[in-house]
């Protein structure tokens, strides 16, 4: 794990993904040597092509990001910048910025294209001499200006490609990056996703002596329970209290508390105690190679440096939340709400709000919680006309779990950036209204994450699909490995039944269980990818099954359970399914023997 920090430092200091032929240069913005106040946002790589730099200043322009490039051929360069105006309309774009090269600011304001979506913006031309030149991004607003890449060319003013697949190939070609990583890391178990489930899986396997790689695309572990998103872990400890208490300790503070940062440190320290866990922070997986329905390797890229690594192992755990490893490997998956008749999950009290008569693509939403504080003196906050269509006159000074957005025509994966941006507009607009309506000119935003806290997306299909019907029937399983007693917790958008409410607030529907529910091991490995486990919100369940077992301690139990199963897989050179069919008693005995 110290290795992870070393890697981070190394890549930050030395690498700057700058592809250069003599007459063209492509700079990936996330590789800037000094990020200033800009942050690397890797959430939407699969959607828009790359991690990017985000000027997340909560309305206050952030410090410049800077990097050096080497000009090998002097001349007049045409400069293109890949940006996005995330709220186009009849107003000044929210995320505007300038690009300077060698101390000269290009005149064009960037980030203000009057169209939705990522695109190349022509920034202007500049004559450059040979030698090192400093590039800097100067944020003008603090409202999520975004820069993906910068392209300089002597070859004439031709716009680079923007179509997703063409751009991907062009990038690889320009950057000279091999399609296949040349660095290969071998482990007993590769866990992708460092949320609570991923951490628990890693510890459980490591405790049994497995050599584990934990791959996480953020600089810290914890996922939705980390200091970056700050959602308390509810649910039960089941038979893994000791493991879970090593990675979560947030009973004593509310959602959104700064104490989550303390818990992050504690988690990191506890994870680092396991010398057979190698933690790869800031590495985002982007592919899984399979042969005969078996994953051979997972490839990951550093979110800033672009460094590629290949992870090989006999077993993999998908704790990505979005089920990416399964998706790339060709695992069967589900998305959206099943018809109530499919698994007999209807609940008359709420009718189609609970489960629809025909399947649809509604999911639980993503949340961004936020807070403000009294600055003790008047502080400014700009007008946010681009947020008003969403918030209208709604006003708020903070937001809890119920600041949640989902819509049946927006996919939690393919439209994740639009969903995040919708929530940001909701926050900035509501905060602006609050200051106006309450004459609160000393109130300033304190904490607004730019990461969405997702509740639901893809769910991979296992040998068993856990459903709400299992809860209704108090079903008991011989392979029960995780346990949940909290109420089933499903949400809907308030404005579906009350149009006076904005579309970013949700309403909870609770179903109180008769008894503790059991989650079977068979819902924790893929039905058709022979060496893939899953733990977390992408486990094998119906939409309502997820509502019955999605709390993070419960998903942590799932992680710990697959970590233990991985040990037996290694012992018997077996696949996850074999543990159920041939070694179940030993497996359950193992969990019970280690229970704490």
């Amino acid at each position: 794990m110290k290795r992870s920090f070393f890697l981070f430092l190394l890549t930050t200091v030395l690498f700057n993904v700058q592809a250069q032929k003599n007459n063209t240069i492509l700079i990936e913005a996330e590789s800037f040597a000094k990020k200033g106040g800009w942050v690397v946002d890797p959430q939407f790589v699969e959607e828009m092509g790359s991690p990017y730099l985000l000027a997340h200043g909560m309305g206050i322009p952030v410090q410049d990001a800077e990097t050096n490039i080497a000009i090998k051929e002097a001349g007049k360069y045409y400069v293109w910048v890949r940006t996005e105006n995330w709220a186009p309309g009849k107003w000044e774009a929210p995320g505007r910025f300038y690009l300077s090269i060698d101390g000269n600011r290009l005149e064009k304001v960037l980030g203000d294209q009057n169209q939705l979506g990522w695109n190349w913006e022509y920034a202007g031309s500049i004559k450059l001499t040979n030698g090192d030149k400093k590039l800097s991004l100067q944020d003008l607003t603090g409202f999520e200006g975004r820069c993906d890449a910068i392209y300089l060319t002597l070859l004439g003013n031709e716009k680079p490609p923007n179509e997703k697949d063409v751009l991907k190939k062009w990038r690889l070609q320009m950057n000279g990056i091999p399609v296949t990583p040349d660095k290969v890391k071998k482990y007993d178990l590769v866990v992708v996703g460092g949320g609570i489930a991923g951490c628990a899986a890693s510890i459980a396997a490591a405790q049994k002596g497995l050599k584990v790689a934990l791959v996480e695309d953020r600089p810290i572990l914890g996922g939705v329970a980390s200091g970056e998103i700050r959602v308390r872990t509810l649910g039960g400890y089941g038979k893994f209290e000791k493991i879970l208490q090593a990675i979560v300790n947030n009973d004593y503070f509310p959602n959104g508390s700064n104490q989550f940062l303390v818990d992050d440190k504690r988690r990191q320290q506890n994870m680092e105690k396991y010398h057979n866990i190698d933690i790869y922070l800031n590495f985002r997986a982007f592919d899984a190679k399979t042969e005969n329905q078996k994953i051979i390797s997972v490839d990951a890229r550093h979110t800033s440096s672009g460094e590629l690594l290949r992870f090989e192992a006999p077993l993999f755990v998908d704790c990505t939340g979005d089920g990416w490893i399964g998706y790339w490997a060709g695992a069967e998956y589900m998305y959206g709400r099943e018809a109530s008749s499919k698994y007999k999950e209807a609940w008359d009290k709420y009718g189609p709000l609970w489960s629809p008569e025909t399947p649809d693509s509604i999911t639980l939403g993503s949340s961004i919680m936020w807070s403000s504080k009294n600055a003790g003196k008047p502080v400014g906050f700009p007008k946010v006309p681009w947020a008003m269509e969403i918030v209208k006159d709604y006003a708020a000074s903070n937001g809890e779990w119920d600041w949640e957005f989902a819509r049946n025509d927006l996919n939690q994966i393919d439209d994740a950036e639009a969903i995040r941006d919708h929530l940001l507009k909701a926050i900035y607009g509501s905060f602006y209204n609050y200051r106006q309506q309450h004459n609160a000119d000393s109130l300033q935003l304190e904490w607004v994450p730019y990461l969405s806290g997702k509740r639901e997306s893809r769910r991979l299909v296992g040998d068993y699909i856990f459903t709400f019907n299992d809860v209704l029937k108090d079903k008991q399983f011989e392979d029960a490995v995780a346990f949940e007693s909290r109420h089933v917790d499903i949400h809907y958008e308030q404005n579906l039944v009350d149009t006076s409410k904005p579309d970013f607030l949700s309403q909870v529907m609770f179903f109180v269980r008769n008894r503790e529910s059991e989650i079977p091991y068979r819902s924790l490995y893929s039905k058709n990818i022979s060496n893939l486990f899953m733990a977390g919100r992408d486990f094998s369940c119906s939409h309502l099954g997820l509502g019955s077992a999605r709390q993070m301690r419960t998903t942590g139990q799932m992680g710990a359970a697959v970590g233990k199963a991985a040990f037996l897989c290694k012992k018997y050179n077996a696949n996850p399914r074999d543990i159920y069919t041939s070694h179940l008693k030993e497996y359950i005995d193992l969990i019970n023997a280690d229970a704490y």
Binding site: L353, E357, T358, R407, N408, V497, T499, Q507, F510, V512
Partner: protein, 332 residues
């Protein structure tokens, strides 16, 4: 006497179905016994009455409740009238002269308390539904009654907004009574007397739950015959009900005018219903070939996802559309 009932009741009855004055005076002459409401926990055996208007059309249910809620040696008597609509949705309550509601230490409810109780009882999703009696107060913090020799705990912090302070157990008992088995019993009774007038009344309700109850009683044929009326319902309903009606609409209508009317609804819809609408007209060929040509003038107001779905359906079902228009729309 206090009158704390939902504004929607008045709104609901004022216009079309019943004389508001008669309701507020609670003319019992129109109400008769429907069934018995029993609650062993609160020793309640009260009669649920069904009330009818002057034309003998059922309009609502009511009960004169007389229950006693005791905890920690402290008891509160709850004497009041409770009203439900024909789908068992809570409508409001009324106190009875000489029987004010009281809180801890027999303090009388204030005006604000009565309003809060109404708000609590309106909240179908209240946290009270997930709690047991023992969760309501924090026994670590106690307070002593001055009028009797009893001690009780302080209201548990997470539920303070969900109960009337000082009347925690009463709030809890009434909420559970309103959302307990009585709702199912009312629905069962209503189904026995179900008629077009009852259906019309429920569909005209401002309560989405009651509307849904009525919509679920409708057969496919009912949807065909009732759609002219459902257009009105759809226009004045919340997105959830709009989308439900759209999903059930018997498309295409045999009446061409209705097809056109259906399409003209699109621009008035919210984003959720729009998405359900687009799915409806782009999935089945027999529907798409009727509706997509009618949508041509509206294609320019679609967002990119909606437009993509429509253009794909034009192509899939081989419905004529000019390349020039496609290019123009994509450029927009």
């Amino acid at each position: 006497m206090h009158y704390y009932r939902l504004c929607l009741i008045l709104f609901y009855f004022l216009g079309q179905f019943i004389n508001a004055t008669a309701y507020s005076q609670d003319s019992l002459s129109f109400c008769h016994k429907a069934f018995l409401l029993k609650s062993e926990e609160y020793a309640v055996v009260d009669t649920i009455k069904i009330c009818r208007n002057a034309d003998s059309i059922p309009t609502r249910y009511m009960a004169n409740l007389d229950m006693t809620v005791c905890n920690d040696g402290l008891c509160a008597k709850l004497v009041l009238k409770m009203y439900w609509d024909l789908a068992g949705s809570y409508m409001g309550y009324d106190t009875i002269q000489g029987n004010p509601l009281t809180k801890f230490d027999h303090k009388r409810f204030t005006g604000g308390d009565y309003e809060k109780l109404n708000k609590i009882l309106k909240d179908k999703n209240s946290i009270l539904g997930t709690l047991e009696n023992k969760d309501l107060v924090d026994k670590r913090i106690t307070k002593k009654a001055s009028t009797v020799d009893a001690v009780t705990g302080a209201t548990s912090k997470p539920i303070k907004n969900s109960v009337v302070e000082g009347a925690v157990y009463s709030s809890y008992a009434l909420w559970h009574l309103v959302y307990g088995s009585v709702k199912d019993s009312i629905r069962a009774y209503t189904l026995n007397i179900y008629s077009k007038q009852v259906a019309k009344q429920l569909l005209g309700s401002d309560n989405y739950d009651s509307q849904l109850f009525a919509l679920k009683q409708m057969s496919n044929d009912d949807y065909k015959t009732a759609f002219p009326f459902l257009f009105q319902v759809l226009r004045r309903s919340f997105p959830f009900i709009k989308a439900y009606i759209i999903s059930k609409a018997p498309l295409p209508f045999t009446d061409k005018g209705q097809n056109q009317k259906f399409v003209s609804l699109f621009s008035e819809l919210d984003s959720y219903s729009k998405s359900v609408f687009i799915d409806r007209i782009t999935t089945e060929k027999k529907v798409a070939i009727v509706f997509l040509p009618l949508m041509l003038p509206q294609l320019q107001i679609l967002d990119s996802k909606q437009l993509d779905k429509c253009l794909s359906a034009f192509q899939k079902f081989k419905i004529p559309i000019s390349q020039e228009l496609i290019s123009k729309l994509k450029a927009m």
